[in-house]
């Protein structure tokens, strides 16, 4: 195993030397950011290869207005919020789900939409609101659960739909055009659902190579080698370096479910504004499962903290260390923005794994 990593590192060094200039690659997915840090890969990368983080942390990009809606629902008697754990500490305008729970609200951490469904099925007296956060990896689970609720006739299960789509976000970044990006390391598990072919518009329209990689260290290095080789060769193709798991066409069953139940809609992304056709809403036949509609909650406006630069961090415009608040007013214990709260937020990862190593000059 170690030898294979050494070989890959040598290949990456050689490829970066062949490019002969600084190369900037975006790791779209927060799980890649975390895996790179957790495996200590950053200090091993060649000098001229710079990795910047992308908007692929679904918690980080959940708009404040959605958090506020969740908090409003959590405060209503008879409502139980079921959520993935990462969402507990994300700050809304006034507090977080964690604090709401401390103040007596019914908030339950689940690691599956199925658990939320079972909570609804087993507690008919309570209204269960499931926070549907995540990209295309996670959206099919939410949708399958809505269908199960429909089948069983549950009238106490709704979803606060916050699911987002990765490729529109990548395109929006490139349309904005102010961040030099030579290529993309594409998220392995989103790609299981959408398929490697889904990135072709990025390669073809924007002339940037996209390589799908898994999350083990050797898979990430393999992905980077493939990207740098394409960049050196002036190519811009979609490559699948995770073919053991990802197919070109993705998971057709999951995609059909999404098409059947959801509609693509404009979506607010935290700190990025509204990106057209980048989110999923429940379609007309399923509106009764939408929490905002069921409880007549209106989405407000985002009021991001003035010192927070999460939006610039997750679009690769700045590094966490460039933010004046990073490590000072904004720390994992005292987060200002979601990038510091989420376990896969770029700033949290930098703080936890990288900041001090950088100080040491490693």
């Amino acid at each position: 195993m170690s030898r294979s990593i050494d070989e890959l590192r040598a290949e990456l060094t050689a490829a970066c030397r062949a490019v002969g200039r600084p190369v900037q690659i975006m790791e779209v997915c927060g799980t890649h950011t975390v895996s790179i840090f957790r495996n200590g890969l950053r200090p091993l990368l060649p000098e001229n290869l710079r990795l910047v983080s992308g908007p692929g942390c679904p918690v980080c990009v959940t708009a404040q207005r959605h958090i506020d809606a969740a908090l409003e629902l959590a405060a209503r008697p008879g409502v139980l919020i079921a959520t993935y754990g990462d969402m507990m500490r994300v700050p809304g305008r006034r507090g977080s789900l964690e604090r709401q729970r401390a103040a007596g609200a019914q908030v339950r951490v689940v690691n599956s939409a199925r658990s939320a469904f079972e909570l609804a099925r087993d507690n008919p007296a309570q209204q269960i609101v499931f926070l549907g956060v995540g990209f295309e990896t996670t959206a099919p689970a939410t949708v399958a659960t809505v269908l199960a609720a429909e089948r069983v006739g549950l009238d106490n299960f709704t979803v606060l739909m916050c699911h987002k789509l990765v490729v529109p976000a990548m395109a929006a970044l490139l349309d904005a055009g102010d961040v030099p990006l030579d290529g993309f390391l594409a998220p392995g598990h989103v790609s299981v659902i959408i398929g490697a072919a889904a990135y072709r518009p990025i390669a073809e329209r924007y002339r940037r190579p996209v390589v799908v990689a898994g999350f083990e260290p050797d898979s990430i290095l393999r992905g980077l080698v493939a990207l740098v080789r394409q960049i050196a060769g002036g190519r811009a193709a979609v490559e699948n370096a995770y073919s053991a798991v990802v197919r070109d066409e993705g998971n057709r069953v999951a995609l059909d479910l999404l098409e059947r139940v959801c509609v693509v809609a404009d979506a607010p992304w935290r700190a990025l504004g509204v990106i057209p056709r980048s989110g999923l809403e429940l379609g007309p036949a399923y509106r009764r499962f939408d929490a905002l509609e069921r409880f007549d909650v209106h989405l407000g406006e985002d009021e991001d903290h003035p010192a927070c630069r999460c939006g610039e961090v997750i679009t690769g415009r700045v590094l966490p260390a460039d933010c004046a608040a990073f490590g000072r007013a904004c720390t994992p214990l005292t987060p200002i923005g979601p990038c510091m709260v989420s376990s896969e937020g770029t700033c949290a990862a930098w703080y936890k794994y990288g900041q001090v190593l950088a100080e040491r000059g490693a």
């Binding site: 170690s2 957790r38 679904p58 754990g85 689940v110 001090v356 190593l357």
Partner: protein, 346 residues
């Protein structure tokens, strides 16, 4: 510069997590009001001079749910936890007090099972339950799928073994860092029976009184600088305590960390760092380098230390940090865990 004011005005669950937030609760709320030289040391127990020797005095409260879990129960935990706090202070446990707070509605059959387990663990540890108290509180948990609770407090006294010099300040560069066996089993076993997480596991809590194991270690005459059981906050929490206490760094090798395949896969599944997950039958030890083999052999020769391993060493690097050499040959920092370990989905 970290801001000094806390950001919460209510207690949140993470305050009890054994990590950074709990540390702040103690430093910012408790110590300023109650602090005294004994308490300020913040070790697992207080050392009280007594009749020409030293008595170690400790207390712990147990609020685990569910009350019964794979590999143990709150009764076993209540004895083992407090005995272990005495043992890592180099004391032989003499007696425990037992405070029971029972929630109305608790089935007596559950109480009996817990007490049987508690008594058996006390016998195993060679400690007497010398005094106790029982209170009953009104039902306050929601009912439905939530069982009535039981809380236990145990306080323990022990006689400090002569000839030991356990002091985090004695830790020096070159010292060896060991753990007494596979990590993360207690925390993961508990998660496997928590509602909403939906997995079952062959993992069993490792809850066990470690007086015998540590006695075997101390009996080797090895120069053991420091021992602590890796409970809430996991081994990472203890390593953070070590670097903070001695002012040196610790470097550990990810491949040397003992983990059962079941534990590793469960941690991957939940997105948890095994170093940050609670144990109830494992210690982190620091010894002089020359004594590492001896200590390792003593651990492995004891039923509760079979999987012991040297996981790293103390170095002179500054600033004092816990650094991990990763499986991939990279390096990263291991931080003190924040607080409540929330299983991730993403």
């Amino acid at each position: 510069m970290m801001p000094t004011r806390t950001t919460h005005d209510h207690v949140v669950l993470a305050h009890g997590g054994g990590g950074e937030l709990m540390g702040r609760l103690i430093r910012e709320h408790i110590l300023p009001r109650i602090g005294n030289p004994w308490l300020a040391v913040l070790t697992d127990g207080a050392v009280v001079p007594w009749g020409g020797g030293e008595v170690v005095f400790t207390t712990d409260s147990y609020v685990v749910t569910p009350l019964e879990f794979p590999g143990g129960d709150i009764g076993r935990l209540a004895v083992a936890g407090t005995v272990n706090d005495l043992a890592v202070m180099g004391a032989e446990p003499v007696a425990l007090s037992l405070g029971l707070i029972l929630e109305e509605g608790l089935p007596l059959a559950v109480l009996d099972r817990v007490l049987d387990s508690l008594a058996a663990t006390a016998r195993e540890a060679g400690v007497a339950i010398a005094t106790g108290d029982t209170k009953v509180i009104e039902r306050r948990t929601a009912g439905g799928d939530t069982a009535a609770q039981m809380f236990i407090n145990t306080a323990g006294v022990g006689r400090r073994r002569p000839g030991l010099n356990l002091d985090v300040a004695r830790i020096a560069p070159g010292d060896a860092v060991l753990v007494t066996g596979p990590l993360a089993e207690h925390g993961l076993a508990i998660m496997s029976v928590r509602a909403g997480l939906e997995f079952e596991s062959t993992l069993r809590s490792d809850v066990a009184p470690l007086g015998g194991l540590l006695g075997a270690v101390f009996a080797t005459g090895a120069d053991v600088r420091f021992v602590r059981d890796a409970t809430r906050g996991g081994a990472a929490g203890v390593l953070a305590d070590i670097v903070a206490g001695c002012g040196h760094s610790v470097e550990i090798d990810e491949r040397a960390i003992p983990l059962s395949p079941t534990g590793r896969h469960a941690a991957e599944m939940l997105g948890l760092d095994p170093l940050a997950v609670a144990n109830e039958g494992k210690c982190v030890l620091v010894t002089a380098a020359a004594d590492a083999e001896r200590v390792l052999a003593a651990c492995r020769g004891h039923p509760l230390g079979r999987g012991a391993a040297v996981i790293g060493r103390v170095t002179a690097s500054q600033p004092p940090l816990v650094e991990l050499l990763t499986r991939a040959g990279g390096r990263r920092i291991v931080q003190r865990p924040y607080g409540e370990d929330l299983p991730r989905i993403c």
